[in-house]
Each structure stands twice: as C-alpha cells, then as structure tokens.
Symmetry: C2
C-alpha cells in the first residue's frame, strides 16, 4: 500500500509547516508558488507521506481528518484526496507503526522468547495509545508484517511447524491485548500506571504483576504445542480436551480447497 | 451511581418519543405541558433513565450526546444537564450492560465453569459492540458488579481463597478480551464472523477455534492456581518461574498499610 497517484509536479508546492507548528505562522513565503499562504485554508496539495507523518504526530487516539487538515493548513478535502476516509488513514498509520516494532532478540530459549515477545507487544501497545483500539477495526495483516515473519522464523528454529508457530505467535498477541485492556481499565480506576498491588507481605509492581499474569497463559500455550506434533494433531488433542458438548465435533474437510483467512 | 438530581416535578413533561422514532412526528400533544412539541429542539427536561434508555438503544459504538439529543428531540444542553460528558454517559451504559450479564450455571467442574465463563464474557462483548472499547477507558468496577461477586462465590466453593478466585476471574476476562480483539480483526479481514479455518483435513469453525484458543490459557491458569495455596505462595511460585532477570525480585511490603487498587 504505497503512496498512490502522487502528483510529483505539485510536490514543490507542499509546504513543510510542521516545524513552525508551535511558532504561530512563520512560513517562508518565498517557497510558496501560488501565494496560498495568505489563504491558510487553501487547496494546496499535500503528499500522502506528509499526511501520514502528521497523522502519526497526532497519534491514533486523537486522529481526525479535521485535525490533520488543521495542522497542515489545508482543507479537509485536500486530505481526502490522499486518503479516502479516517478509517483508511488509521489503517495506514497502524501499518506504519507496526513496521517500527522492534522485536526482542532470541535468548536461545523458546519460553523466555515468548515472554519477551508478549512484553514487547504489550509495551508497544502502551506506547502507542489507541493502537489496539484502532487496529481492532482493520483487517488483520499479520502475514504482511515483516516483523511477524521474523517471529515465525524464530519459532520454527525451535522445531515448530509454520502452523503451530503461527498459532503460538497469534496467541501471544492475544494475551498481550487482553493485558492491555486490563491496564487501560486499571489506569482509569487509579489514574496512574505505576500502581502497586499488595499481596500478602509483598509490594508487587505493575511490571511484576503483568509478568505473573502472562506466565500461566504462556506456559499453557507451550504445554499444548509440542514441536514434534503437526498442527492437526495439536488441534485434535485440544479439541478432545474440551468439556463435553462445549463445541461440535471436528468435521472432515471434504470441500474443494479454498484459501482460508490468513493463508 | 444512581440517577442524581432527578427533578421529579418535571418528569410528566418527559415525552416518550422512542415509539414514534420511525414514524415521523406522531406525538400526543395533549401530554405536553408547555407546547414544546411545536419547537422540536426545545429545552424540555429529560430524565436520566430516558437518556440511558436511548443511549443503550444507540449502542456504545455510535454513541454521541448529539445523537441522544436528536432522538429525544431536545437540545444537547438538556442531555448535559443529566450526564456531564459523553464519557460519563458511556460509563453509565457500560455499568448497566454489565448488570444484564447472564452468568453460566456452575456445571460442578471448575475447569468447565471457567470455559463457560470465558465464552460467556466473549459472547457478551460480541453482542455489545463497542463495549470492550468503551469499558477500556472507564474505571474498573469489577468489585461493584453483582455478577462478579457471583463468580467469586462460585470459585470459592471450589476451595479457592478470595485472592486466588479474583486472579482467576480477572485472567479469564483478560483472555476473553484478547480473543475479542482477535475476532474484530478477523472480521475486518474476512467481512463476516462465520469463517472457517482449514487445518489439515478439518474444517474448523470460529466457535471451535475460539474454544481451542482459550483452552491452553485456561489450563495454564488452573495449573498455577492450586486451591490449597494462598495467593502469596502462588505469586511467589509464579515469580520464581519467570525467566531470570525478566522482572525485579519481589519486595517485602514494610510500608504502612494502604488500600490497593481493587481492594
């Protein structure tokens, strides 16, 4: 999803106003071709890169087309020429933020790797407020993420098949998202994120608490993901272990092959 | 958080317009005291109950003060007399929706109970779009929820102390929220929720997939929550099991007692 229809001939007209954002209106008029600086809400053309840059400065939580247009001093219509809707803009921002994700090094131990991965996702979500909320409503493009491929590669070095590696990685993300919702609520309740739990004779910090909360889930995942087993066998075993009547029995796939989501 | 400052003397003036919502403007004028029906956006007084009823009809996803005022045919100011902000209104709606949560029966097996509880939370979130998103930004009032108390009571019948029961119940909610984020994304990708995964020779429905995904997490939780142990001992064991250097060592609490969040 690169920039589309970029009108190169007009690019010299796209003023960089971000530097002067906090300095009232000190714009270099000599750079301006058609004097549109005098009409601050003119129909100057902005590039998609510029729109995205400003959108990321605003952050996902307060992102509106109006705010982008205000900061770039163009009409909302000029923004809509680059991105069709707020949702499209959000999707582009989400994709870019994810591209910046710095994965943990592989510490040479799969359990520790999953812990570090889970904490990495969680910290990323906390550092990008609105990311989980916005990315919820956008197509899951995990398989297009370069970082996700790296995670799969790391897990496959431990002997997991691609299907099992995919399930493990997706589940670790789910755990991180659940913990993110938890922290957001606690933050609303307490008004800060450095709160301390008192358990018995201990003061447990939020960082310790989160590690302790992710621990049984990650150990449970590992216990159910023997690298010697194929994905099908793991699914069969997990299904067999469900409470009786909880979900219908597994159905053989006798339909013509079709691309499943995520493939 | 019950209705505040309800002006009983004005209640007869609050017209029930919800029934005529789809029928243009057939209002019983005889019920109206000061003829404000002729001025559809007048300053008639609405009760908090009415505001909440309409807010729940709209649903959390499209909820704005403007939309509530439009449906009740009063000015936004009349709504702001009842609820201070959109956020306060959201919090009230969240609290009411949660009050309606129907918990699963205890099937007499704690593992099966946690599975049913997790699915119950997940289905509730799916049936109330916007609930997770909105409740993320409101103080966690779990301990004030009647339904949450019932969950704790059920778990304590299995021998768990209140602290361990609380951790189990909170973790099951976290798992459900993580799965909710997952489904929302899959829905965005595929455009429907009845999608089928093809794993080996099986067609796995979304319902089966979700049960299979929650399975290792719930089993992991149970494995780490021996009812014979006190919460402190469980925390100590989980902390000891973390990768070396992942979080700082547990600190003794030698400060003066203070109320921790959630107590």
């Amino acid at each position: 999803m690169g920039p589309q229809h970029r009108d190169q001939s007009n690019e010299h007209c796209a003023l960089d106003l971000t530097a002067s954002e906090n300095q009232s209106t000190s714009v270099d008029v000599s750079q301006c071709v058609n004097g549109s600086v005098l009409k601050p809400y003119g129909t100057r053309i902005v590039t998609l890169e510029k729109v995205l840059e400003v959108a990321r400065e605003i952050g996902l939580e307060g992102l509106t087309i109006k705010e982008v247009s205000r900061r770039l001093r163009v009409t909302p219509a000029a923004i809509y020429k680059r991105v069709r809707s707020k949702e499209k803009l959000e999707a582009l921002v989400v994709a870019q933020e994810f591209a910046d994700l710095t994965l943990p090094e592989d510490p040479g131990n799969v359990r520790e790797y999953l812990f570090r991965l889970c904490r990495c996702y969680l910290e990323f979500c906390l550092e990008h407020p609105g990311f989980v909320e916005a990315s919820m409503f956008h197509a899951d493009s995990r398989e297009r993420r370069l970082s996700y491929q790296k995670v799969l590669d790391t897990l496959m070095r431990y002997g997991y098949s691609i299907g099992v590696a995919d399930d493990l990685a997706a589940s670790v993300e789910n755990i991180a998202h659940g913990l993110y919702v938890y922290i957001r609520r606690m933050y609303s309740a307490v008004g800060r994120t450095d709160f301390v739990y008192r358990v018995g004779g201990y003061r447990i910090t939020i960082d310790q608490m989160l590690a302790i909360m992710m621990s049984p889930c990650i150990d449970g995942l590992l216990a159910c993901s023997d690298p010697a087993f194929e994905e099908t066998r793991i699914f069969e075993e997990l299904h067999r272990g469900l409470p009786e009547g909880f979900v219908p029995p597994l159905q053989q796939d006798d339909s013509t092959p079709e691309v499943a989501p995520g493939e």
